[in-house]
């Protein structure tokens, strides 16, 4: 699945997007966050405070307990500051 990062999460991870294949036991957004955070220092830094990380699956806001099965594109970003 494709993972996108925005704003300071993009800066911390050091890339705007990547393709990942998490193991089958990673079933929810929260579990994906935990798995990604374990992939290296830059990820640990980006996901250091999971409470403020927002996620969208296929361009729709989701909560941490959302299942990721079937997702094509999962995005992670800080709280939004548009308008």
């Amino acid at each position: 699945m494709k993972i996108l990062y925005f704003a300071w999460m993009r800066e911390r991870v050091g890339k705007a997007e990547e393709d990942v294949t998490p193991p089958a036991e990673v079933a929810t957004v929260a579990q994906l966050v935990e798995w990604l955070a374990g992939r290296g220092e830059e990820y640990a830094h980006a996901f250091a405070n999971p409470k403020i990380v927002r996620a969208a699956i296929d361009r729709t806001h989701v909560k941490p307990d959302a299942p990721i099965a079937g997702a094509r594109e999962i995005a992670f970003f800080p709280p939004m500051t548009g308008g």
Binding site: H61, F77, P78, M80, T81
Partner: protein
């Protein structure tokens, strides 16, 4: 197009004209323009870069426009949000709402702005004399958006306007 994301400036008057031209049922038009300011929290800001999530931003704003149309009897809506680098004085966002009566146009414009501030996938990075930093989300904006989470308010009787 009711929702547009673009780097170039917008023409608020042209958008209003497109919504109202040739029709005689619109009685109220509310236009909100958000502008880049040269200071924030008492500190100078020299420029701002708006990052967005292409595809999701359009869809998310369009969903809120539809929600506004469900809540208020609108006769037209436009939302234009710029992205990229902007300097103080430049317009960032435009919301135009048209309706028969003023309360509906005002409420829908405020609703859309509150949601843009908190739910549309945009992120602001401010350039300051001591460096650049990402703008933090504000609790006041979350509070403003939360007031719309209650069931839709009863529509005012249009005939009573």
């Amino acid at each position: 197009m009711r929702v547009r994301l673009q780097t170039e400036p917008f023409d608020a008057a042209a958008e209003v004209a497109a919504l109202t031209g040739g029709r005689t049922d619109v009685g109220a038009v509310v236009t909100f323009t958000g502008i880049c300011r040269a200071s924030e929290g008492g500190e100078p800001v020299t420029a701002m870069t708006l990052e967005h999530y292409p595809g999701m931003a359009e869809a998310e704003i369009a969903r809120h426009v539809e929600e506004a149309e469900r809540r208020w009897p609108l006769l037209g809506v436009r939302v234009i949000h710029r992205y990229g680098r902007l300097v103080p004085g430049e317009p960032i966002v435009l919301v135009v709402t048209a309706s028969a009566h003023r309360h509906d146009a005002f409420a829908a414009a405020e609703f859309l702005m509150d949601y843009l501030k908190t739910r549309a996938p945009f992120w602001k990075r401010e350039e300051r004399p001591d460096g650049a930093r990402w703008v933090e989300a504000k609790a006041a904006d979350d509070d403003a958006a939360a007031r719309w989470s209650a069931p839709a308010p009863p529509r005012r009787d249009a005939a009573a306007e």
